[in-house]
């Protein structure tokens, strides 16, 4: 019985390590900044998900108690990863792409990097 648990935990840990390594390697391998957004925000999130699953399995099957901290960390990271990627893309657009080079949006509003929605005093993001 502990043999299966050890194999399961080890497999998830190795999988997480590989995903983390691939995500960070994509950061130096890909050519463009917009391409580089893909590597860390997807692969590293998968890697840390595997690590947290391994931790939950370890504490439940081997230590014998349930811990919910991993679920909190997973929820927080999966909620904040798209926001972070969106902000980085907006920073890149602001610095490198002119407004007239962007394609037209299909709604009444322009790109949120350059235009605020009318009728609101909200700032960027």
């Amino acid at each position: 019985m502990p043999g299966y648990a050890e194999i399961l935990v080890s497999a998830f840990i190795v999988l997480g390590g590989l995903f983390g390594l691939v995500g960070s390697f994509g950061l130096i391998k890909l050519r463009d900044t917009m391409q580089r957004l893909h590597g860390p925000t997807k692969a590293t999130t998968l890697g840390i998900g595997s690590v947290l699953i391994a931790s939950m399995t370890y504490f439940y099957l081997i230590k014998g108690h349930v811990s919910f901290h991993e679920l909190l960390i997973t929820l927080f990271l999966f909620l904040t990863a798209p926001i972070t990627a969106n902000f980085i893309a907006k920073a890149y657009i602001t610095r490198h792409i002119r407004e007239q080079d962007l394609p037209a949006t299909s709604s009444d509003y322009g790109w949120s990097v350059y235009d605020d929605p009318p009728g609101k005093e909200t700032e960027e993001g």
Binding site: I28, R36, I48, R95
Partner: protein, 89 residues
């Protein structure tokens, strides 16, 4: 067996940290540096969780949760600095 897997994962995330450091030093753009810093934070969270498994204690989850929050806030702050600094001034 878990020990061997943990050592492998430590090496993987350590190499990931080195890659991120290389991207921070040579990154041609500020967005690259922000992305590398965010990836560094994620790697550090994974290292902390794995260290908690290594030691067999649940103490390090609070530390990794705090690192996650501080990393998200710092990333958003850096991006907003770039956005507002270019738009308003």
């Amino acid at each position: 067996m878990i020990t061997l897997a943990l050592l492998f994962a430590f090496v993987c995330f350590g190499l990931g940290l080195l890659f991120c450091l290389w991207r921070i030093t040579t990154g041609p753009d500020n967005a690259d540096r922000i992305l590398a810093l965010d990836t560094m934070v994620i790697n550090v969270i994974a290292l902390l969780v794995l260290y908690g498994v290594w030691k067999g204690t649940a103490v390090y989850f609070e530390a990794s949760m705090l690192v996650a929050m501080v990393g998200f806030v710092s990333t958003v702050a850096y991006c907003r600095f770039i956005l507002r600094g270019d738009i308003i001034e």
